[in-house]
Symmetry: C2
Subunit: 390 residues, 2 copies
């Protein structure tokens, strides 16, 4: 076990009917709320009305900032920061999935930055976040775990760079999760969510500094089994409460620091490469990960066949005794499972031309540099991308 | 999944060398510290010196309150409250195991109570804790998880009542855990710790309101396997860092709200009955639990044989296909494992006379009443105790 600090103070309010508590939670931090949301789906499925009713009952004054799209962009977040300044906002309320929550976090930190230029410097790690407005979330897509972690991801359109910030100041103070909210999530996005949750865990499972991690491995395997069986239920019955609830809570536990506590520095190569796919082609993050994760696994399998074999045996019941063979069977099984639930597993399936591999590798190597992943040169990334062709 | 709130803001600082951070953590909450500890073992194993050095480096003023014994008593905690008043204490620092931490929590709440009489009324749920001094802990025995939960257990000598309080105000703000501290823990107490950790989880596993809990069940099973295999290593090699670290972190995850989130109201019958054993006979809590838990399991097995069978199959690899038979085999296996590690599994082994069953049941039924466990009448408790005879 490596030394660690686990400090996760987000209050999770979980269950059917809990959105009615939004106003009460927000009110702990002030009276002027910036309500951040996406393209308006929350107006169709009734969540917007539930939230507004609760905010009004708590006598809060609300300014709205909508239009966040998936793979959110910095230029949009900067407009949110301006609005937050002009409305003298006390607290930022995100109602949405990871993109909306990450935009809210960026706004919360940006309001306390010296200038708009500084905000991107948070993402390039040139400047450190030293303060932020409090953030509260109502989750409508469960995958990123942004609702219970200190991280946000944002794309700068100029240069198509998709980078990350992490600071305790932007960690949500409270997050409200009602599984019935997920009933209207499409089969595609239900599948992409499952891929994202699994990818968060497997990156830590394979890329860490701790050679002996029976506890963390078991936590990952238990969560992964639960997400897989629940997703299979959801694709048949989108309104299955327990299956939606299991995914909603597993998504959080998969990436709130629990499964990586004690693992030392963890790196995220499949995410690093995927960020370039979604920055350059605007594919859904989960769809990109079902391409890059198996590709990366094939690239890496020879370095630790025993660990890859463990995954295959624990998750897919593979009985092969040779580690390398079991490992490869496991990777194949995972890839097949991603296909079964409807997530693409090759660049080709996602409509990304093979000829673009050089350009993607160029873009990803910039992320690798910022994330301190020296082993991932443009050449290595290119090699992995060739394993993602299909 | 039942509705739940998960709100666990304790900062965990984990690993070798981390005790040097004690002063820095304590200083966040004030300058006058009440240092609470037990019978002085921390002076023998060097932990006292490490803590004092760190407190001095942070320029903190320290008042000492020692002498906490296992199964801590209210009369002693009341003296600590007096001392905290007279020294005008800002923050309470517990250096010890569950008994010391629970005494520190009781003092922290008691300082803000109107009178000493009120303090016991917190435990009988007649009064509610409305404020407390901040608590910080340095853990020297890992079992109770008191270092990351809002609960404390205390015995009132008059009437031999062992009751519980729970309040967010007494939840530690920070807890420092260095696995090397456990190297000097005796084989007996290493075994009792394992029993306590497992019992915390199994009570929730069996006594909850949620019929379908694949995620929580897997978390429990993964933690339980880790605690069992690590304890076996520790009994052979008490200075095995990873085994001690796995137990230390598992103890927390076993009882910090994680494994019961979504399970609805959870009851603790084996703990309820054990409290009477330790209140009346001063047996170690873990030793008492290895007697009452298997007894309770035999009593309850017919009510949900499938769940008991699941435990037997997952933990002990039992292949029997009949649920009731597999369940009984599983209980036998658990009892045998408790014996193997050196924890008693019958009243007889603990030197408690069979003739006392009536008296124990009388005492336990008072706890059952306070804890709202109506089904556990004196007669039912007596029946369970007869199954604990050996």
């Amino acid at each position: 076990m490596q030394n660690f600090i686990f400090d996760n103070p987000t209050r999770i309010i979980f269950g059917q009917g809990m959105i009615a508590r939004t106003g009460g939670e927000v009110k702990r931090f002030g009276t002027k709320v910036l309500l951040v949301y996406g393209q308006g789906s929350i107006k169709k499925n009734g969540i917007y009305d539930q939230v507004l009713t609760s905010l009004k009952e708590a006598n809060l004054s609300v300014a709205e900032f909508s239009g966040v799209r998936s793979n959110p962009v910095l230029s949009h977040a900067l407009k949110g920061i301006e609005l937050a300044h002009s409305e003298n906002i006390d607290v930022v309320l995100a109602v949405g999935g990871g993109s909306v929550i990450d935009t809210a976090k960026t706004i919360a930190a940006g309001v306390k930055a010296d200038s708009g230029d500084d905000v991107w410097e948070f993402f390039t790690f040139k400047k450190k976040i030293r303060n932020a407005l409090p953030v509260v979330t109502v989750v409508t897509v469960s995958a990123s775990a942004s609702e219970m972690n200190p991280t946000a991801v944002m794309t700068k359109e100029e240069g198509a760079q998709k980078f990350t910030i992490s600071s305790p100041f932007i960690q949500p103070r409270a997050s409200i999760l009602d599984p019935t909210v997920l009933y209207s999530l499409s089969p595609d996005y239900s599948a992409f969510s499952a891929v994202d949750i699994i990818a968060h865990m497997l990156e830590g499972y394979f890329n860490n500094r701790e050679p002996e991690s029976p506890l963390q491995d078991r936590l990952v395997e238990g969560l992964m089994k639960t997400v897989m069986e629940s997703t299979e239920v959801i694709l048949k019955d989108p309104r299955h409460y327990n299956a939606r609830a299991n995914v909603m809570w597993s998504a959080i536990l998969a990436f709130n620091g629990l499964t990586t506590a004690g693992m030392g520095f963890v790196s995220f190569p499949a995410h690093m490469i995927e960020h370039s796919l979604s920055a350059l082609y605007d594919v859904a993050h989960g769809a990109g990960l079902s391409i890059t994760l198996p590709g990366w696994m094939i690239y890496a399998v020879n370095k630790s066949p025993a660990k890859f074999a463990r995954l295959g045996r624990e998750i897919f019941g593979i009985e092969e005794t040779d580690d390398l063979k079991a490992a490869v069977e496991g990777i194949d099984s995972l890839k097949r499972w991603f296909s079964t639930i409807g997530s693409p597993t090759s660049l080709k399936e996602a409509g990304i031309p093979e000829d673009d591999i050089g350009r993607i590798a160029e873009n990803a190597s910039a992320t690798a540099a910022v994330w301190g992943m020296k082993a991932y040169t443009k050449e290595v990334i290119s090699e992995i991308l060739h394993l993602c062709k299909g």
